[in-house]
Symmetry: C2
Subunit: 109 residues, 2 copies
């Protein structure tokens, strides 16, 4: 099927999965790390920075934008991308409650 049965899971579980999914590809991880590193707007140099074709990068950027993790402003013929700080913080809160669950004190297995 290749189709996740989202309706049987909670909104929280689906939200975590959606965020995680977007981080589930090294190209998107690399794009985000580059946006963090430059700490300012990056335009077309992502294609040079990462070794993928321009349509591929554009597609990955679209997914990141769709989830609200980055924003892009058109500036002349180029587009300026950067991290969306507020949404990134919100995402972090969601992921942290998942990742920071209390580990069992007793090792069971």
């Amino acid at each position: 099927m290749g189709l996740a049965k989202t309706e049987i899971f909670t909104d929280s579980q689906n939200e975590i999965a959606l965020f995680a999914k977007v981080f589930g590809h090294p190209a998107r991880v690399a794009i985000l790390e580059h946006l963090f590193k430059t700490n300012t707007c990056v335009c077309g140099d992502l294609v040079n920075e990462i070794g993928l074709a321009q349509p591929t990068i554009s597609q990955h950027l679209k997914e990141l934008k769709l989830l609200g993790l980055i924003k892009g402003n058109v500036e002349g013929t180029s587009v300026c991308y950067c991290i969306h700080p507020e949404n990134w913080t919100k995402m972090k809160a969601v992921m942290n409650t998942f990742l920071n669950q209390d580990l069992p004190k007793t090792d069971c297995c």
Copy 2:
């Protein structure tokens, strides 16, 4: 293609993507949350808990085990699954360095 070009990314980027990918499906999020909640070994009741067929759950468990996030012990005819505390902590460290990157002070776009 459907094939990620892992060789052009750093080990760190690939590692983050691998961990994130396994969290990228609500069923696996639900399985992990249940293992955390019960705080002890869970055997076969994951199939009843989550509304997916037994082979499907078994497949998701396999992926979680492959990454080392859970461990499973055979106990008679059933298998006891639980979180792998040490590996979970290691994974958390990897994900946190990615998620907690410094946000730019100046809103650029």
